[in-house]
């Protein structure tokens, strides 16, 4: 019975993993496979319906929506992925450092994190973006920072929980210390929960990037980030709702796939 279930989870994970991989590859090779320049404006061709030449038609400036969607994968999924990877790497370094040092550094770290975490992450990111000004680079900085605060605090807790484990003490007695101890014993045992959370939160970060673009705090106008496309399409929601629908659906699909993937990781870990 349990075997069958595991098999099932495995197949499901394979499903979402493959779809995400295909989307990722589309984004990676976007410059090669897009039929048109996603930034090329041609007012004479605005609001065209789907055709062989323009698979998803054109928007209010006559740009190819399909090409914009493809390049948008890079700005939405790609950015979120980079933000998550950078944030978790920094968080592991920081969290591990404080957890193994303890003492005053740890105390200060906890206080600072508590103060920062008192704001919801989105509000914290808003504040930072407001200070830095809207741009793709600043979206990166703001989101990496907020994720870092949240993750490093969490990872510190995971590490401290491990400190007491018998095999950590045994490894210390065998003479393992410092970075070797972390790489050999902490990380392999903490990898499943960390991977789950990181994958799960990619979806959250995609939504946040899109949210910033939508309210004009994120990337600048011509960049075909999905949230930006929703934003641009909203003026024409009555006449051409598909302009909002395509990027909106893409965001929903990717986020759902990521959640699904993460939850299957969680089930396998149990």
């Amino acid at each position: 019975m349990s075997l069958v279930r595991k098999e099932n989870v495995y197949v499901k994970r394979l499903f979402s993993l493959t779809l995400l991989l295909i989307i990722g590859l589309l984004g990676l090779f976007a410059p090669i496979i897009m039929p048109h320049d996603p930034l090329a404006i041609d007012i004479s061709k605005k609001f065209l319906g789907p055709s062989l030449d323009y698979p998803l038609g054109t928007d209010h400036l006559g740009r190819c929506v399909w090409s914009r969607m493809l390049l948008g994968i890079r700005y939405s999924l790609g950015s979120a992925l980079i933000i998550q990877i950078v944030a978790i790497l920094l968080a592991v370094l920081l969290g591990a450092f404080v957890a193994l040092k303890r003492g005053l550094i740890d105390f200060l770290f906890i206080r600072i994190c508590d103060i920062l975490l008192a704001f919801p992450t989105l509000v914290l990111a808003f504040g930072l973006l407001g200070l830095l000004g809207p741009s793709l680079k600043n979206v990166f900085i703001a989101l990496i920072f907020t994720q870092l605060v949240y993750y490093s605090r969490w990872i510190r807790g995971l590490f401290i929980g491990m400190n007491e484990k018998g095999f950590i003490q045994a490894a210390r007695i065998s003479g393992t210390s410092g970075i070797k101890l972390i790489m050999r014993h902490y990380i392999p045992n903490l990898l499943p929960p960390i991977v789950t959370i990181v994958v799960l939160d990619i979806g959250k970060v995609i939504l946040e990037i899109a949210g910033f673009s939508f309210i004009g705090l994120g990337v600048h106008a011509p960049i075909p980030e999905w949230g930006m496309m929703v934003n641009e399409g909203k003026q024409y929601i009555r006449q051409h709702p598909e302009l909002m629908l395509y990027p909106g659906l893409a965001i929903v699909l990717v986020v759902l796939l990521l959640n699904h993937l993460a939850s299957s990781f969680k089930k396998l870990g149990q």
Partner: protein, 273 residues
């Protein structure tokens, strides 16, 4: 020569600072006024009821848990007041077999990786040399060589315990703290391991601290036995000495003789009653 000196150890577990309005909980100390010393090549037994603080004392001697008070000198160096570099040198000579063997393995490592770890830290062996060494150690504790690619969860309790012993022997230490190291093994294996430990003791001039609640095995292994009760050392017994303290007598009386009739005879032999 004196290898280890334990002076006036006291241990409280409840050390967390409390908010100022709440009084700190007055927990009874886990260890109190524990003082003894150990010679090179000696085997010291420590017995006592469950919860009397034996494992805690073991951890303090190993330098992984700082005592509230008192000091531990290993070869004349205070374990808790030395540089980390020096501590690493001491580390080589001071090994242990933990009571809970399964928890002392990283579940993500194979048996080979577990036993080779000390070599990675202290020696510059090549992979084949390490394989060779690990095989030797596995032979030493009578484990098959094919076991080395398995994971700890795939071994029986006794096999795990022997892997633990193999790891402790790897670096050729001067002192091994054996915390219930053989209690989970069957009688035949207990005998083999005790013989192995004793021969190692002779060859390498090894010292042991043999923690156990099995009085018979301890008596067989040790040159000297310390009896603990409620965190205090209540009696020290020489190799063939008699038990006097009530706590020791209680431990002794709990041994079930193989035949009821032998009971009175044993009493006469050991207890002066």
């Amino acid at each position: 020569m004196t290898l280890l000196e334990v002076r006036n150890i006291e241990m409280h577990y409840d050390q967390r600072p409390r908010p100022f309005m709440f009084k700190r909980g007055q927990e009874a100390p886990v260890l109190q006024k524990v003082t003894f010393s150990l010679q090179e090549g000696e085997c010291l037994g420590i017995v006592g009821q469950s919860g009397s603080g034996k494992s805690t004392l073991g951890r303090i001697i190993l330098g992984i848990e700082r005592p509230t008070k008192g000091e531990v000198l290993f070869q004349g160096v205070n374990l808790y007041e030395t540089t980390s570099k020096h501590k690493k040198i001491i580390r080589r000579d001071l090994q242990t077999v933990f009571q809970n063997s399964y928890h002392s393995f990283n579940p993500k490592q194979t048996i080979f990786e577990i036993i080779e770890e000390p070599f990675l830290n202290f020696e510059h062996f090549s992979k084949t040399e390490r394989q060779h060494k690990v095989r030797e150690l596995l032979d030493c504790v009578e484990l098959g060589r094919t076991i080395d690619q398995k994971y700890p969860s795939q071994l029986s309790g006794g096999q795990q315990q022997r892997v633990n012993i193999a790891r402790a022997l790897a670096l050729n230490p001067k002192l091994i703290v054996l915390d219930e190291a053989i209690s989970s093994l069957d009688m035949i294996l207990q005998k083999h391991i005790i013989q192995l430990l004793q021969s190692l003791q002779k060859d390498r001039h090894l010292a042991y601290i043999f923690i156990s609640h099995d009085l018979q095995a301890t008596r067989f292994m040790s040159d000297r036995i310390l009896v603990m009760q409620n965190g205090q050392l209540v009696e020290e017994i020489a190799k063939d000495g008699a038990y006097k303290h009530p706590a020791s007598l209680e431990l002794y009386n709990a041994i079930l003789p193989s035949h009821p009739r032998e009971r009175t005879m044993k009493h006469k032999r050991f207890c002066n009653v």
